[in-house]
C-alpha cells in the first residue's frame, strides 16, 4: 500500500530525513516512533503530498506522490500534528466543507457527516461551533475530517498528543475501530507504549535515519539477539532452572527475578517447545511459559543509544 524508497528531505544544510525506505501492506498499522525533531512530521508531510522530497520516491496505492499528488490525495487522510479550526463554523458545516472539498456530491454528504460523527462519538456536538470544542474533541473532529472521503490510507501525526489519559484511550479505541475497517494506518508518536499493542509494525527514526523498522515482535527479537521468553517456576527450583538453561546452546542469557526467569532464546520457531519439554523432563515444575511481553521502551533505548551523543 505504501512503498517508500530512499526518501530524503533537506532543509538547507539540515538533512531532516535520510534514505528512508519502508513498505506497508494493506491493513498494516505502522507506528512511527522517534524523539523530537527526528523527522516524523517531515516524512508524513512528504507522504501527504505537502512537501516535495529532495530525493527518492514514494508510492501510495501504486501512485507516485510527486507525479500524481492529486490522485494520492483522494486515497489518503492526513491529520497534521498541530492544526487549527475555522472560526464561525459549526461541527457539521466543518465536516460538510471538507466532504465538499473532497468532491463528494451534495446528496451523499449528509449521510457521511452523520457517519463520521457517529464513529468519532461527536454526534451530540453536531450543531456546536467548532471553536468551542475542547482539545480532545477537536482532535476527534480532525480525525473525523480525515475520514469523510473514506480514505484507504491514514497518515496520523501524533493524534493523541496533548490529551489526557482517558482521551488517549478513546483515540486508541478509534484507531482499533479503523483497523477493523481495513485501513492502512501510519501513526507517529514519541510515546512508545502507546503504540505497542496497537501496531503490527513499527519504525524507529532518529535524526532522520530510520534505524529499525518492521514487525514488532521481530524487532524486539532482533534487538535482544533472539526471542525473549519468560517462565515461572516455584522459588526453590529457580537455581536449578538457571543451571539447566546455562547448559543449553540456544539460550543466550537468563536472569531470575521474583520467581520468574527471563531468557533470550536464539533457537528457531518451534524450539521453545523443545526447551519446555526438556525442562519438564528434567523435573522442573513449570508454572507458566511464554513469550515475554514486548517492552518497546526498552527496545527504543537500546536502539537509539550511542547515536544521540
Amino acid at each position: 500500500m505504501i512503498e517508500v524508497e530512499h526518501l530524503r528531505k533537506e532543509y538547507g544544510n539540515l538533512v531532516a530525513v535520510r534514505n528512508l525506505s519502508l513498505t506497508l501492506d494493506e491493513g498494516d498499522i505502522f507506528g512511527f516512533i522517534g524523539p523530537n525533531g527526528a523527522g516524523k512530521t517531515t516524512t508524513l508531510k512528504m507522504l501527504a503530498t505537502l512537501l516535495l522530497p529532495t530525493a527518492g520516491r514514494a508510492r501510495i496505492g501504486g501512485l507516485d506522490i510527486t507525479r500524481e499528488p492529486e490522485k494520492v490525495r483522494a486515497i489518503i487522510g492526513y491529520m497534521p500534528d498541530s492544526f487549527g479550526v475555522y472560526d464561525d463554523i459549526k461541527v457539521w458545516e466543518y465536516l460538510d466543507f471538507f466532504a465538499a472539498a473532497y468532491k463528494i456530491p451534495h446528496h451523499r454528504r449528509q449521510r457521511i457527516v452523520d457517519d463520521v460523527l457517529e464513529l468519532t462519538d461527536l454526534t451530540g456536538k453536531k450543531d456546536v461551533y467548532v471553536e468551542s470544542l475542547s482539545r480532545g474533541m477537536r482532535q476527534r473532529l480532525c480525525l473525523a475530517k480525515t475520514l469523510v472521503h473514506d480514505p484507504k490510507v491514514l497518515l496520523l501525526d501524533e493524534p493523541a498528543s496533548g490529551l489526557d489519559p482517558r482521551a488517549r484511550v478513546e483515540i486508541k479505541e478509534l484507531l482499533r475501530e479503523l483497523k477493523r475497517m481495513g485501513k492502512t494506518i501510519m501513526v507517529s508518536s514519541h510515546i512508545l507504549p502507546e503504540l505497542a499493542d496497537l501496531c503490527n509494525k513499527i519504525g524507529i527514526i532518529e535524526q532522520g535515519d530510520l534505524i529499525v523498522s518492521g514487525d514488532v515482535q521481530a524487532i524486539v527479537a532482533q534487538v535482544r539477539g533472539g526471542r525473549a521468553l519468560q517462565l515461572r517456576a516455584p522459588e526453590a527450583e529457580v537455581p536449578r532452572v538457571l543451571e539447566l538453561l546455562a547448559e543449553r546452546s540456544d539460550v543466550a542469557g537468563a536472569e531470575a527475578a521474583a520467581g520468574e526467569v527471563r531468557l533470550q532464546f536464539t533457537g528457531t520457531e518451534t524450539e521453545p517447545a523443545d526447551l519446555l519439554r526438556d525442562l519438564v523432563l528434567a523435573g522442573v515444575r513449570v508454572q507458566a511459559f511464554g513469550e515475554q511481553e514486548t517492552d518497546l521502551e526498552d527496545v527504543f533505548m537500546k536502539v537509539t543509544r550511542g547515536i544521540v551523543s
Binding site: T49, P69, P80, I89, K145
Partner: protein, 598 residues
C-alpha cells in the same frame, strides 16, 4: 424612526443578498466560497459594517440634498439634474474609494490567516486545486463588495430619477466598481500568497493598491480632461473606478473602433484580476501545479501592454492608411515603417522584462522550468510579432528573419547574464540588480562609445559597434531601404568595420550576444549539476548500529534499514526531484539563498 426603517431594510437586503450569493456558491460548487460566505455573513459584524456604510452614504446624500434645495432656483429641471449629478458623483466616488479600501483587506489575509491558524495543510490535502481555493477566496471577497454596491444602488438610482445621469453612465460606473473590486481583491490575494504573515500581506496589498489606484486615477483624469473637447478619451480612462465615475459615459477609440470607456475599463480590470489570481494560486506552497503558466500570463500581459502602449498608435496609423498586405509584399518592397524604432523598443522591452523573468522563482514546483518557459515564450512572441510587422511593413523577409535571429540571440544573452548572476550571487535581488546593470551597460556602452567617434573617421573603437544590437538593426533597415536617413550613416560606419563585408553586422552581433549569454548559462547548468550530485551523494556519515539479521519465516517481510550499505543506489528520478524546489511555506520566500530552498 428612519433609523429603524433603514435598519430593517438593510437587514433584509443583506439577508437576501447573502442567500442569493450562497445559492450562487452552491451552483459554482466551490466549497471555499461557500464556507467563506457562510461564515462571513454569520454574526452581527458584517451587518454592522454594512449598516455603518449605508448610514454614511445616506448622510452624505442628505447633506447634498440640503445644500441644493437651499440654493436659489431649485425646481427647474436643470437644477434637479445638477442635484442628481451631485448625488451620483458623491455616492459613486465614495464607493470607488471604498473598493480600494475594502477589497485588499478582505483578501490580504486569505492564505496568511489559514497559515497562521494552521488550516492550510488540511485544505491542501483535499482534492481542491490551488486555483479553486484562490477562486473561492477571491469570489467571496468580491461577493461582499457586490453586496456593498447593491446596498447603495437605491441611493444612486435616486440620481437617475432626478435626471442628469444616463442609465449607461450609472451601470457603467457600477460595472467598473465590481471589476475593480475583483482586481484589487486579486492584488490582495497575490500578496497573501507571497507574504509570511497577515500584517506584511496587508501592508503590501495596501501599498501596491494605493500606488496603482492613485497613478491610474491621475493619469485617467488627466487624459480625460485633455480629450474632453474631442469626444474620445485616451486609452483605459475607466480602469480606475474613481475616474470611471466621470468617464463612464465617454467612449474610447482603439484603432478606429469606438468602445464605451467603461466596457474597456471592466475588461481590463477583469483580465488583470485573472492574471493576478492565477499567479497567487501558483504561489501557494502546497499544490504542485504541472503547468507553470502564471509566468506566461505575466509575460503575455507585459507584452500586451507593450504592444498597445508603444505600438498601438503606430499600428492604428498604418491601419488607417489602409495598406493591404499581400503575398507579394514579402519580397523586396520596402515601406516607411519605422522598423528601427520598433526593434529598438523591442530590445528595451527585453532588457526590462527578461532579467526579472529569468531570476524569478514562480510557481514553486516549476521553479526551474517556469522562467525558462516564460523566456522562450517571450522570445517566440516577440519573434512572431516582429515577423508579422515585417509582413505588414513589406520588409524583405530575409531582414525579418535576420531580425528575429538577432532578437533571439539578444534574449539568450540577457538571459544568460542574469542566470549567471543568479548562480554567482545566490540571492535573487542582488542578482536582479546586477543583471539590470550589466544588461544596461552591454546595451548602452557600445552604442555610446561607438557614436563618440565621427562616422567618417576610422577608429578601432568603432569595432565596438559589433556588440550593439541597435547598430545591427540599423543595418537591417538600411539593407531594406537605402533611402532611409540613417542608411547613409550606416554605410559610412560599415566601411570602417573589418568584417562586415563578409558577414552582415546582425550575424556578428548575434554571435557576440550568444557568447555573452554562454558563460552564465553554463554556470547555472553546472550549479544544477552540482546540486544533483550533492543530492545523490550518500551523506550518512553517522554509522548506524548494525543489528544482527535473523532470518525467520515471518521476518521475511521485515525491512531493517539499519545496516544499509554506504552507497545506496539512488532511484533514477532523483534528478527531477532535486531540480524542483521544495514548496514548504517557510522556504518559498524570495530572499533566501537557493541552498535553503532545496
Amino acid at each position: 424612526m428612519a433609523r429603524i426603517f433603514i435598519n430593517a431594510v438593510s437587514r433584509s437586503l443583506i439577508r437576501a443578498a447573502g442567500s442569493v450569493l450562497t445559492a450562487l456558491a452552491a451552483v459554482a460548487r466551490n466549497p471555499v466560497l461557500g464556507r467563506e460566505l457562510r461564515t462571513r455573513m454569520r454574526g452581527s459584524r458584517s451587518y454592522w459594517l454594512l449598516f455603518g456604510y449605508l448610514l454614511v452614504l445616506c448622510g452624505a446624500v442628505f447633506l447634498i440634498f440640503l445644500q441644493y434645495t437651499h440654493g436659489a432656483g431649485y425646481g427647474a429641471s436643470s437644477a434637479r439634474g445638477e442635484l442628481g449629478k451631485a448625488i451620483f458623483y458623491w455616492v459613486l466616488c465614495f464607493q470607488a474609494l471604498m473598493v480600494m479600501l475594502v477589497a485588499p483587506a478582505f483578501t490580504a489575509g486569505a492564505f496568511t490567516i489559514e497559515r497562521e491558524q494552521r488550516t492550510l495543510d488540511m485544505l491542501a490535502t483535499t482534492r481542491l486545486t490551488n486555483t479553486e481555493v484562490a477562486a473561492g477566496k477571491l469570489l467571496a471577497a468580491a461577493g461582499f463588495a457586490t453586496i456593498l454596491a447593491f446596498v447603495s444602488l437605491p441611493l444612486a438610482a435616486l440620481s437617475f430619477l432626478l435626471g442628469g445621469i444616463s442609465p449607461q453612465e450609472l451601470l457603467g460606473a457600477y460595472a467598473v466598481l465590481l471589476g475593480a473590486s475583483l482586481f484589487y481583491g486579486a492584488l490582495g490575494l497575490l500578496w497573501s500568497s507571497l507574504a509570511r504573515n497577515t500584517t506584511a500581506a496587508t501592508v503590501g496589498a495596501y501599498g501596491s493598491a494605493m500606488i496603482i489606484y492613485i497613478t491610474s486615477c491621475i493619469l485617467s483624469l488627466a487624459s480625460h480632461s485633455v480629450s474632453r473637447g474631442s469626444g474620445t478619451a485616451g486609452p483605459f480612462t475607466a480602469f480606475n473606478p474613481l475616474a470611471a465615475v466621470f468617464t463612464s459615459g465617454t467612449s474610447e477609440g482603439y484603432f478606429g473602433l469606438y468602445l464605451p470607456a467603461w466596457m474597456v475599463g471592466v475588461t481590463l480590470n477583469l483580465v488583470l484580476a485573472l492574471a493576478l489570481y492565477r499567479s497567487a494560486a501558483a504561489n501557494l506552497e502546497h499544490f504542485p501545479e504541472r503547468k507553470p503558466w502564471s509566468p506566461l500570463v505575466f509575460a503575455t500581459l507585459a507584452w500586451a501592454f507593450f504592444i498597445l502602449g508603444w505600438h498601438g498608435s503606430a499600428i492604428a496609423y498604418e491601419l488607417q492608411r489602409g495598406f493591404s498586405p499581400s503575398a507579394g509584399s514579402l519580397i523586396g518592397q520596402t515601406s516607411t515603417w519605422p522598423i528601427r524604432t520598433l526593434a529598438s523598443q523591442t530590445l528595451l522591452f527585453l532588457a526590462l522584462v527578461l532579467p526579472m523573468l529569468s531570476t524569478l522563482g514562480w510557481s514553486p514546483a516549476s521553479a526551474r522550468r517556469g522562467p525558462i518557459a516564460a523566456t522562450v515564450w517571450v522570445a517566440v512572441a516577440l519573434g512572431s510579432y516582429v515577423l508579422a510587422l515585417a509582413q505588414f511593413s513589406r520588409l524583405h523577409w530575409g531582414a525579418a528573419v535576420a531580425g528575429m535571429l538577432l532578437l533571439a540571440a539578444v534574449s539568450w544573452g540577457i538571459y544568460g547574464v542574469c542566470v549567471g548572476w543568479r548562480a554567482i550571487l545566490q540571492y535573487p535581488w542582488p542578482a536582479r540588480v546586477a543583471g539590470y546593470l550589466t544588461v544596461t551597460l552591454l546595451l548602452a556602452l557600445p552604442e555610446a562609445l561607438g557614436s563618440s567617434v565621427p562616422p567618417e573617421q576610422p577608429d578601432p573603437v568603432q569595432q565596438l559597434y559589433y556588440a550593439s544590437p541597435f547598430f545591427a538593426i540599423q543595418g537591417l533597415q538600411a539593407a531594406g531601404d537605402p533611402q532611409a536617413p540613417w542608411a547613409e550613416e550606416f554605410t559610412q560606419r560599415r566601411s570602417h568595420l573589418a568584417l562586415t563585408l563578409l558577414v552582415p553586422p546582425w550575424g556578428i552581433t548575434s554571435g557576440v550576444w550568444f557568447l555573452i549569454g554562454l558563460p552564465g548559462c553554463l554556470m547555472s547548468a553546472r550549479r544544477k549539476g552540482e546540486r544533483r550530485a550533492s543530492a545523490r551523494a550518500p551523506s550518512s556519515t553517522l554509522a548506524a548500529p548494525s543489528l544482527p539479521h535473523t532470518h525467520r519465516a515471518e521476518a521475511a517481510e521485515t525491512r531493517v534499514s539499519a545496516a544499509r550499505p554506504q552507497l545506496a543506489p539512488e532511484p533514477p528520478n532523483v534528478v527531477a526531484l532535486s531540480e524542483s524546489r521544495a514548496y514548504n511555506a517557510a522556504e518559498t520566500t524570495d530572499n533566501e539563498p537557493p541552498e535553503a530552498r532545496r
